[in-house]
Amino acid sequence: MKPFTYERASSPAAAAAAVARTPGAKFIAGGTNLLDLMKLEIETPTHLIDVQELKLDKIEPTQDGGLRVGAFVSNTALASDARVRRDYGVLSRAIVAGASGQLRNKATTAGNLLQRTRCPYFYDTNQACNKRKPGSGCAALGGYSRQLGIIGTSDACIATYPGDMAVAMRLLDAQIETINPTGQSRTIPIADFHKLPGTTPHVENALQRGELITAVTLPKPLGGTHTYRKVRDRASYAYALVSVAAIVQPDGSGRVAIGGIAPRPWRVDAADAQLRNGSKAVVAPLLAGARPTEDNAFKVPLVERTLAAVLAETRA
């Protein structure tokens, strides 16, 4: 690990300003992703700004009947909140499908959204990787790509966004609230938050340098039956090969978002519109333009079958 200096910020604006003013500075929240990457020298911050004292650890009602989840709320606290369990079941389910009990106690809402890909070549500093080292190439193309993306990828990068929580948040149309180094706030719809790689796979999200996530807001409850189904190589403590988050209303309409297949939680309006017509009808617009590799072509039928199982379950 490279040496770094450390400070605890005392206000969100001060934290944002501190990152903006210090070259090589980064925020640290739970540390469960950043420290992992620092040990491998994939991330090499020279200064860490700890956000634990910013009082961003509350879940509060919003004026329009939704919930505002502080950026520092732990995954365990969010999944356990009685309002989340009752009104946003898909979010509780997605969170507890991820990582382990120990990790979820430390992982935060903002840190989880910002977790980096699990592409094995991104993790191996001996390999070419455009995301880790822009312009160096992509060892995953033509390499071992079983876990990687089938849609939204590019010739520069085929990695996925690996997380679970964000898939449910995308389904719910959550909004991300931030503050920038000059103290201004803005709201980013989660649909615009994670970026597709194009020719710049190292640019992963809409945040500017020093911009701090302060909260994620959930809209007022959507009703319906909430499901999160995750398919993986072992029953627990593994990333998704494919995951399906769904809310289905009594009349059969609803929405779906897919994890494990793209550089961001994958949701397509035209696919949602087909929900009453069954999984095949949904998957056609959902996966239109998919470009799987030989290794991960199985994900195309797997999405369809997992969705079929989810729809059968919600109608049962």
Partner: protein, 212 residues
Amino acid sequence: MKDSGSPEISRRGILAGGAAAVAATHVPLADAQTATRSGLKPTLAKVEMTVNGKREAMELDTRTTLLDALREHLHLIGTKKGCDHGQCGACTVMVDGKRINSCLSLAVMHQGDKITTIEGLGTPDKLHPMQAAFIKHDGYQCGYCTPGQICSAVAVIEEIRAGVPSHVTGDLNAKTPISNAEMRERMSGNICRCGAYSNILEAMTEVAETRA
């Protein structure tokens, strides 16, 4: 999850490797050399925490994980380093009553925190009920994962009682029973290379039942 794919290593080999690793962390030479190469100097920072009821003040390289602070600085070597990347659970300790992986947390981030390690849970003459149950039910073979398993096991029962849901919880809005399925799922963050899982579950079941 990375597959180590390592060839067969003898138990003796593992122990020798462990000792070498300990020796290396006591000699900051390697770090100092890295620092010169990268042009960055190691930074020391002061931190105070309560470990097993005892106030501890340390001055540490900011890079020191909570795990290394416990093992190498406070010499509480019960807590183990398996993977150092959050993938095995051997380093599980309790911070302010919640279990975490101490390998993925910086010591300097724990100013003022209360840490409980396996040494603080019980002592050889006054075992924690979970420690006693692990012995009774043979909840280990080599014992390497055991301190982490026991810390996790104690926390799991508390988490179910506190209403934390899990991946196998049926009704999110009902009280969760302490069942086999719930305990197994919640223990998935603790890997046991010896495969003592079913005995660990028996130990947990006994503790959950006697304290119910």
